[in-house]
């Protein structure tokens, strides 16, 4: 393992909102401007390319014109970009050199593929921010990571003053954050030292106050844990084991009692880790600080099963009624694992005629209130089945950023099924609601004292519409959910002896729905090809009511 002394700053600067080329605007304006000597940092636009600007002048030898204070245009009409691309490609192939400012071409490629913005490498090795449009004025900004390393995300509007946007402890080889809106903003990520790593990091403390640590340093370690930033919850000091891996916990958690071992009344946890190499003074120590949120669980689950009404377009009343029947089936299944409410929060029962429907802004506001609460109204539900349009960052106009602000890990959903196109193209949205971004086993949850949670959605476009010429639904999609929830081999399958325990895990139910083998709702279907792209996160070997 490479040991980096000090932090690597892998900068990346991102800027949004380019709609027309600068040349077009200058031509339209018809104003002649004189070349100037620009400062080192500013907003530099190309005269010929429709692309986001650079924060510096990529062609210092070319004439530059100031079009308004701080904004410059470099005259690149003489630049042969095709040849330049070839030159850069050859150079990269030759020595795998660091990406240069000419990364502009890559940004063009991303944009042509539906991405947006640009990504620049300002220094460091291997840390590069990428950006992709999300379809609803949002940008997903992502970068490759090493699991266990701490990354600090900073933002700026002027490249001078930076503020911390987020601190991320990577739990995978790629992490992401989101930006919404159309203002100009720059982002950079600072990679922390790998002398102190936090493997298998989970951002919350629930039943167990612990931190897993790895360090290649041989010597001593001191771990200080603060509860709500006041006084140390406890401090541990000792020698670092030869493997470099160790866990520090307060010892209060008893896995035998999972998932009901009790909770802390702490909102914010801070873990300060200091490692000192053998034989060296304290001045040679390295320190890493990470944070976790306190998480509480309401054991009384409550949920809602909703459809965005009219999602199928100009459907016939018969088709709408058919969708209603499927939604009712989903509702009855969900009613077996938790109480169900309507959009006003009123409890429903098995005799309810149809699952709640979402119509426009009013019901969106109602659903938001149920999901997130407000200043004086607590969040009402922790379980949701949604059917309707979706993207990888929103459904029914409710954005991923709202989940981050209102739910993120402190009051997570214990079950969320987002039956909309691409709602799980990445697992970001499921993660924001459930606090789990990938599958995790029951034993891992027991080990960490976590409450079971599960989320699922689709990575792809789904064919949930109806056949216009026949006036019938494409049933495979709905049958997948019936089998996933159903009595035959899905989540609501129970012991037959009267104890009534659900005995099919989420993974079992997904296996069944994917390949019902003639045992599902349609006895002629062995494999449901509509199951492609089904994504699950959280405790896949847990049950519907746990």
């Amino acid at each position: 393992m490479t040991i980096k002394q000090g932090a690597i700053i892998g900068g990346a600067l991102l800027l949004f909102t380019i709609h027309t080329t600068t040349a077009q605007r200058l031509a339209a304006g018809g104003v002649k401007r004189e070349p100037v000597t620009p400062p080192a940092i500013g907003t530099f636009r190309s005269l010929t390319l429709n692309q986001p600007p650079f924060p510096f002048n990529p062609f210092p030898d070319l004439p530059v014109t100031q079009i308004k204070p701080g904004v410059y245009v470099y005259d690149d009409r003489s630049v042969d970009y095709v040849a330049l691309r070839a030159e850069i490609a050859a150079k990269q192939a030759e020595d795998n050199a660091m990406m240069s400012a000419m990364k502009t071409m890559q940004a063009e490629d991303e944009e042509s593929m539906g991405g947006g913005g640009m990504a620049l490498m300002m220094g460091g090795a291997g840390l590069l921010l990428n950006i992709a449009r999300t379809g609803d004025d949002g940008r997903r900004i992502y970068f490759d990571t090493a699991p266990g390393i701490v990354y600090t995300v900073e933002q700026s509007t002027n490249l001078t003053s930076w503020s911390v946007l987020d601190t991320i402890v990577a739990d995978d080889t790629n992490e992401a954050f989101y930006a919404f809106g159309t203002d100009n903003r720059y982002y950079r990520v600072i990679q922390g030292s790998d002398l102190i790593q936090f493997p298998n990091f989970h951002p919350t403390v629930e039943q167990s106050c612990y931190i897993d640590i790895y360090t290649p340093v041989q010597g001593t370690a001191r771990v200080e844990i603060y509860a709500n930033g006041v006084t140390p919850w406890f401090i541990v000091e000792g020698g670092i084991p030869a493997s470099g891996h160790f866990r520090v916990s307060d010892g209060l958690y008893n896995p035998n009692n999972w998932p009901n071992d009790g909770y802390y009344s702490v909102t914010n946890w801070e873990f300060r880790v200091t490692v000192t190499p053998t034989g060296l003074s304290a001045a040679a120590a390295n320190q890493g600080i990470v944070y976790k949120k306190g998480r509480t669980r309401n054991p009384l689950h409550k949920g809602i099963t909703v459809q965005a009404y009219g999602v199928l377009g100009q459907a016939t009343p018969a088709v709408e009624e058919e969708v209603d029947n499927f939604m009712h089936y989903y509702f009855l299944a969900n009613l077996q694992s938790s109480s169900q409410v309507d959009l006003t929060g009123a409890l429903l029962n098995e005799f309810t005629e149809a699952a709640p429907k979402l119509f426009g802004a009013t019901s969106r506001a109602q659903l938001r209130l149920l999901m997130f609460g407000s200043n004086n109204i607590p969040k009402a539900i922790d379980r949701l089945h949604y059917f309707g349009h979706g993207t990888n960052t929103s459904f029914f106009g409710i954005r991923i950023s709202e989940a981050r602000t209102n739910v993120f890990c402190t009051e997570p959903f214990t079950y969320i099924a987002l039956d909309g196109c691409k709602t799980a193209q990445t697992t970001d949205m499921l993660g924001e609601y459930t606090c789990y971004w990938k599958p995790i086993t029951r034993n891992e949850m027991i080990d960490r004292g976590l409450t079971p949670g599960f989320g699922c959605g689709w990575a792809t476009e789904k064919d949930a519409a109806w056949l216009p010429t026949q006036g019938a639904l494409v049933l495979k999609h709905y049958n997948f959910w019936v089998d996933f929830y159903g009595l035959d081999g899905g989540l609501t399958h129970r012991d037959l002896n009267g104890n009534g325990y659900f005995d099919k895990t989420y993974q079992d139910a997904a296996d069944f729905a994917k390949d019902p083998s003639g045992n599902g709702v349609n006895p002629t279907v062995q494999h449901n090809d509509e199951s492609g792209g089904f994504v699950m996160v959280g405790c896949l070997d847990c049950f519907f009511d746990l």
């Binding site: 009855l332 086993t441 034993n443 891992e444 027991i446 104890n499 005995d503 079992d508 083998s517 006895p523």
Partner: protein, 264 residues
């Protein structure tokens, strides 16, 4: 002594008519010999569990009822095969309870599910959907009694039925490599009839837990090994959970295969 009870219940759930038949066969006197604790027979020859003596069919009128009776008998036999071949965790008991559930299907036919239980284990078999002649409505699909799930009721990581069972996890001091866990899974899969040449990849999760013994002392142990076998189209063929004892190998506590298979 034989005790038989019949409970019929009709439930209307989600628009699906569910008919539950509960049959209980206890042949305690015939099978009074309880087998020893499973941990003691690790290296012993397979313990042969005597088949509970089947009762005579109660209904002989329709081909469907005859078929269901055949399924009941076959389930008993297959359950005993599973105990002998999987040699699961926990004490093997001789008592057998059988529960039969029939479900109607939207497209016609009756799905039959048979659950066989001993005091510590259960297995679920499915058949159908069957037509009135007791034949699968789809002649191209496998007919007969097919295994979906076998599990230990109290010794797995799912402790809903007996939460205090977790207090014994600290005794799992044995160590097992992931390779050994996969090899054991393939061996057992072949033993009960899986085509293991379909396995393209596997996943093994074994999480060391920091547990507490009855005196409150901290004990590090890995009580469960979870093995998933996948086909080359990324379908999970088999999911197995093993419970580790004081010595390896781990013993099966949960066995889920889908699609279901005929026990060999």
């Amino acid at each position: 002594m034989r005790v038989r009870s019949l409970v019929v219940a009709i439930l209307l759930v989600g628009g699906t008519l569910v008919l539950v038949l509960r049959k209980q066969d206890r042949v305690a006197s015939e099978l009074s010999r309880d087998t020893e604790n499973q941990s003691k027979i690790t290296n012993a020859p397979a313990v042969v569990i005597a088949l509970a003596q089947p009762s005579a069919p109660e209904k002989t009128g329709s081909p469907l009822e005859k078929k269901i009776e055949e399924l009941r008998l076959q389930s008993l036999e297959d359950f005993n095969k599973l105990l002998n071949r999987l040699r699961p965790y926990g004490k093997l008991q001789s008592t057998r309870d059988i529960y039969i559930q029939r479900r109607t299907n939207n497209a016609g036919g009756i799905k039959v599910e048979v659950e066989v239980r001993s005091e510590n284990h259960k297995a679920t078999f499915v058949a159908g959907p069957l037509n009135a002649n007791g034949l699968h409505v789809n002649p191209f699909l496998q007919d007969g009694n097919l295994l979906t799930l076998f599990e230990c009721l109290y010794d797995g990581s799912d402790t809903r039925r007996k939460p205090e069972a977790a207090n014994e996890w600290y005794l799992s001091s044995g160590q097992w490599s992931k390779e050994e866990a996969v090899a054991e899974s393939l061996r057992l899969a072949q033993a009960i009839g899986h085509q293991t040449n379909r396995v393209a990849r596997h996943e093994v999760v074994a999480v060391p837990l920091t547990l507490k013994d009855p005196a409150g002392a901290t004990v590090k142990a890995t009580p469960f090994y979870k093995v998933d076998l996948y086909t080359d189209d990324d379908s999970r063929l088999l999911g197995v959970e093993y419970r580790m004892g004081k010595e390896p190998p781990g013993k099966v506590t949960r066995w889920f295969n889908w699609p279901p298979i005929k026990v060999r």
